[in-house]
Amino acid sequence: MILSCFVALLFSSLAPPGDVAARDVPNDGGGSIAVTWSPSPDTTVTGYYVLRQAKGDTTWDTLRFAGRLASEYSDGETKDRTDYRYKVAAVTPTESAESAASTFAASSPQWFDTETIPALVGTAVLIFMFAYFINRARRGRNLFIRRISGLDAVDEALGRATEMGRPTLYVPGISSIADVATIAALNILGEVAKKTAKFGTPLIVPTADPIVYTVAREMVKESYTTAGRPDAFNQDIVFFVTDQQFAYAAAVDGIMTREKPATNFLVGMFYAEALILAETGAATGAVQIAGTDAVTQLPFFITACDYTLIGEELYAASAYLSREPLLLGAIKGQDYSKAIIVGVIVVATLLALLAGVPVLKYL
């Protein structure tokens, strides 16, 4: 390859790429050097070979073939603090032309990614908002939160199940514990389990993830103990079904049609099986309270369920139901943070619109 390139160079009329430069890739963990070049002016070029030489070496290694439109390449296989230099060879089906070598460059890891500064500032602002309102809540200030009809209906729905002598079904979604929606669903389960323990209503909690199963079981057990009914808890309340999406939907549908729960809670992360669950529940005549942050499934829940917690209402639920001051304070912090974001968007949009106004260019 090298010899043929050398021979081709002697007789080549092809213009090589120019301005080959190499520098350490910034804001990374090391091991990368960015190579840039100006493309060859020849339109017959089909691509570029990137060549590398370590300091002290006599040979050039061919790294990668880059397309004819490429003008940069990231070499991700460098040893930190080792100097390398690069050449770029333009190639056609019959000839090639190499550029001059770049200066030496060495890769090194960085301890801070400067591109994340906006995220850091935003995070700091949000944390400040939370801290401020949590502090206010700690001081006993009354924090207003608007009514969420789905959560107000929880007591009524559970009462209905108790009167009818039928169980309550709680479906905590089909996602894993790593999904924040599942954690929110489990927090609500804790509150619901306290109420079912107090009312003496049977509770059924089928889970689709083994870890969610273990956490849910412990939460329900603790809720029954807190409600003063540890004797009413049994291992069969919470059980693992399957982690396959539609197999889980089939199992839950089976539970709905056999056990005929009076109240269904469909809270957590759902995918395509959302409507299957909701509609089957509606067919059995159950009162259904749903909550998810899966935007694509919200329309199905709104259509088929009696009450739906939309998006962030799901995350506010544990605070709403428990009325714990610290949790309420966090909700207020969240709301004011959203107000700040909306304000920034409005201002930025106005500025962007005004930037297009010709007269303002002269100001």
Binding site: T46, G47, R64, F65, A66, G67, R68, L69, A70, R160, A282, A283, G285, A286, V287, D306
Partner: protein, 302 residues
Amino acid sequence: MTAQDGTGRRNFWQKLQAIDRRWIYLVVWLVVMLPLIFPFYIKPRPTPPTEKLFQFIDTMPRDKALAISIDYGPDTQAELQPMLVALLRHAFATHHRVGMLAMVITGLGLGEDALRQVTAEFNAHATTHDDSVINGEDYAFWGWSTPPVTVILGMGENIAKVFPVDYYGAKTESLPITKHLKNYGDIGILVSIAASAFPLSWINLAQTQFGVRLGCGITAVSAADFYPYLNSGQFSGMLGGMKGAAEYEQLVEERMAQNDQVWHLRMKGTEAMSSQSAAHLAIIAFIIIGNIAFFATRRRKS
């Protein structure tokens, strides 16, 4: 709360509002099944995105190949497989070479099914060697490889390096088609048929670096996400969902008719259009009937 308790005798409109779901399921089943048993073809008029893709492939120089990337699996087969079949028919009818690969391993079987079907269709009517569609000469099924970044970038240099053997086990270099289909330079357009965001990877890697022209076939629900790329020219055409497949089938049928290839081939996308149209109309009718019953009941109460 859901209305469940009856309150004595109900009039017709109240009964209609509370109709047993199973009647609705029965009607839906009938409107989907009957058009499949007694087909009536609603020939869809091609929309601009489909027309664009068709015209591009139709007017491609003969020495440029069509490359197809199967980026979907069996779960979206119903919507996307008709697109693959229609593209293959179009390529073979216009004597363009075809190179096929799969980025999703479960798509391999689907690709093989489509090739088997279309080559059988063409070879059943072939009278000469030129008319026939032959593996290794007219098309190559390269198979599946991973990781996707390596495949997409590697195809820019040498496809045979990325896929040393084809799906059937033959050495890619030894195939006659490989002389004319070495890398992106020999590909007129690459169409990614996907149920996910794979087409965007093709834009980011293949088009940005190698300038290869791209098209895509995607599911109807994700079509809205790809329109910006179509409008910017990054896609040279787009097939959206079953309707897109049906539109393309119509265009291919007309094109083949110009070649006197009136073979009355099965067009699953077009067949499904009748069922889909009937189902949508049925749901609209249900909603209208439900609302008439609702307003009639409300008027009686007031």
